[in-house]
């Protein structure tokens, strides 16, 4: 299943995850993180990884380092002194998202 959406929409999707809601119940301090809540840090890292992959950066060597999720700077770099930061994908730009789908099918055995 594929869908093109903006990066902003992707962030909205990430915020629907039940696991994220449960995490926030257990770790309310996450909201106070200076670089934003967990889903935003992850989202910013994705956007940065997308751009770096396109320009042949570090992402080609395996994507953003996992430790970056906790030290993201993408959200702060989107606009600096009015200039657009080229190191992260534009939140309004589109990205294609894909989900694998599994179906299980059966039917009742005929009684005849």
């Amino acid at each position: 299943m594929r869908k093109k959406m903006s990066w902003i929409d992707l962030l909205a999707y990430l915020r629907t995850w039940s696991a994220l809601h449960t995490l926030k119940e257990h770790h309310p301090e996450d909201l106070l993180h200076p670089e934003g809540p967990l889903e935003e840090r992850f989202w910013n890292s994705l956007r940065r990884g997308a751009v770096q992959g396109n320009i042949g950066g570090r992402a080609e060597q395996g994507g953003p380092n996992r430790s970056e999720v906790g030290c993201d700077r993408g959200a702060q770099c989107v606009h600096q002194n009015g200039a657009t930061d080229q190191t992260v994908a534009d939140p309004e730009s589109e990205v294609e998202v894909e989900w694998g789908v599994a179906l299980i099918l059966t039917r009742k055995v005929s009684e005849e």
């Binding site: 967990l38 694998g100 009742k108």
Partner: protein, 227 residues
Amino acid sequence: MRYDRCGIPFRTLTIRHRQSRILQLKHVIGLTGLRYGLSWGGYFVKVEAQHFGCVPFCAPAAASANLHVCAHNPHPTFLQIYSEFRLPAYPHLTPFIEHYSEYTQDPSTSVGGYWQQPGRSILANHLVEVPEPNREIFEPLERVYFTGEHSHHLLCRLWTYLHIWPGTDLRVSVRKLESGSSENRIIEMILTGSFSIVYVNILRSLFSYPSRSSHTSHHHAQENVLD
């Protein structure tokens, strides 16, 4: 793919999200609807049955399957889930996404430890753990996978199960499926196309629980022929 034995017993069915309090999921379901021509109406979504070819009932849903599918006709059945998302334009981000979704040790980098279990694992494993139903009540399950270019990952998972579960050997069965075809040919079939349909009728018997004998599993493998 082969749906000829299924038929289409009714035109529409209704999908209801089990946790209607999570209103944001409307958006996600809406995405599904766009793909399959669904129309959104409150908490319920109607879908044209022919989009699925073979149809539904109330499935014994895995604990956290995203959609619980019910149909007006209680006889035919299906259960559908979508697994982890990917960004196909950026495959190098897949491990990063998996870390965020599945890694369980560090809540500062991952939500993985906060899914409802074992439901989430069942979902992430593409419902492989859903057992065969009582044969006196239901026909044997058919398992169908829709994958994109990230299906390397899916295939690897399926392969893993085949190695783990005794009495199953996809390689042998694939050769029986398509005489003269190589494993690479089968993999190529799966990977071609932007939205390939992987029809895995043959895997039905291979995904049996370990309690089933290897003899039974291989016997079924011989009976099922991939169209």
